[in-house]
Symmetry: C2
């Protein structure tokens, strides 16, 4: 990795989706160059134009997933679980040597408020197994509700639990967390601990519906 | 169940342990009659005497696990995961028709700060499968650190996520949560969602060690 601690270009694969586009917007606002990746490059270009208009600056570009992943310093994966494996296979070569931040939540629609444990226990563990040791997989941002990301005037009231087997990669992702106002990065341990972080998302979706709130999040207590 | 909404007698199997004895103390203080269950009745009797002295009242009794479970209106299981299945088998007959609150966290020592996904995905799902439909299993209290329970002068800064497939059983357990000052009960959905709640505990133990704090907990945001 570069000796500059701040990643310059982030690709968000699945950046046309609700969670992905919200993250794109926050990071673009935070001073990063952001690439939106999509299976359909035209859709990525359209979404980039839309989000640049919100920011009032031309810092977001749209590409297909593979080109976006190839150009970026750091790659963020925010895709439906059903597409997770296929998209990982398509970018496996171009993400070697990079950090891959996996935001994917393993759910089985229509039961989106019920925890689903995938074969590899966590989407991010499956990503690490598929990509091999040449890629440092970090699990993060799963618990930040998409409903809170688009309103740039509002901070996000949620801690971001960050899991990885690579301490340096965790530290680099901490900077991406700091770029989203209101959040706090918490080192949540090895990648195996992503099981808890991923599984918490359908629980938060259940809680949001049950208590009729816009997007429940979490805070770790006892750190103050 | 009785038409009286408040359970009168709670058995805590594993009530001689750190988490179990802390819960015993809080519930005894909250006005419940509490039975400590242990594989060794003499140890349960000794621990009951010790905790009654703390409370300054004679509301806790020690018994072996089976007798404690038989006598109680509601049974709480707070045992090491390695003993979970054996103890469940030993009380399976006497808990039929009752609520069983499973506090067990599936960990594999010595890796107590790393999530371990058991064969049945969650200890409480394994309990429900083993006990059958005649027992209403509720998962709760996993994230309340044992280190905060003994000091009765201090509230516990933690939400208690409660999962079950039975809505009435969840409501009865909500009352046990209210008896512990500082906590807040949150309906976290069906028992399948206990995967997240159980897995969060080794993550909180990791965070506590990593940030050198006494016992990290969680709060759900967005409900206020």
């Amino acid at each position: 990795m570069s000796s500059d601690p701040k990643v310059k270009t982030i690709a968000v694969l699945g950046g046309t989706g609700r969670e992905g586009s919200g993250l794109v917007l926050r990071w673009a606002q935070g001073g990063y160059r952001v690439l939106i990746g999509s299976r359909d490059a035209a859709r990525a270009v359209a979404k980039a134009g839309e989000l640049n208009a919100v920011i009032g600056e031309d810092v977001i570009r749209g590409l297909d997933n593979v080109d976006a992943a190839r150009e970026a310093d750091m790659v963020v994966l925010a895709v439906p679980y059903a597409a997770h494996e296929d998209i990982l296979r398509s970018v496996a070569d171009v993400v070697q040597g990079k950090i891959l931040v996996d935001v994917t939540v393993p759910i089985q629609p229509p039961a989106i408020r019920t925890v689903y444990v995938p074969e590899g226990n966590a989407a991010s563990l499956e990503a690490q197994a598929l990509l091999g040791d040449g890629v440092r997989v970090v699990a993060a941002f799963h618990n930040v509700s998409a409903s809170h990301l688009p309103d740039l005037a509002q901070g996000v009231n949620c801690d971001v639990l960050v899991c990885s087997d690579d301490a340096d990669a965790k530290n680099e992702v901490f900077q991406l967390v700091e770029a989203i106002a209101g959040t706090r990065a918490v080192d949540a341990g090895p990648l195996a601990n992503a099981v808890a972080v991923e599984a918490l998302t359908p629980v938060l979706m259940y809680i949001s519906k049950r208590y009729k709130v816009a997007g429940a999040g979490i805070r770790i207590t006892g750190l103050e």
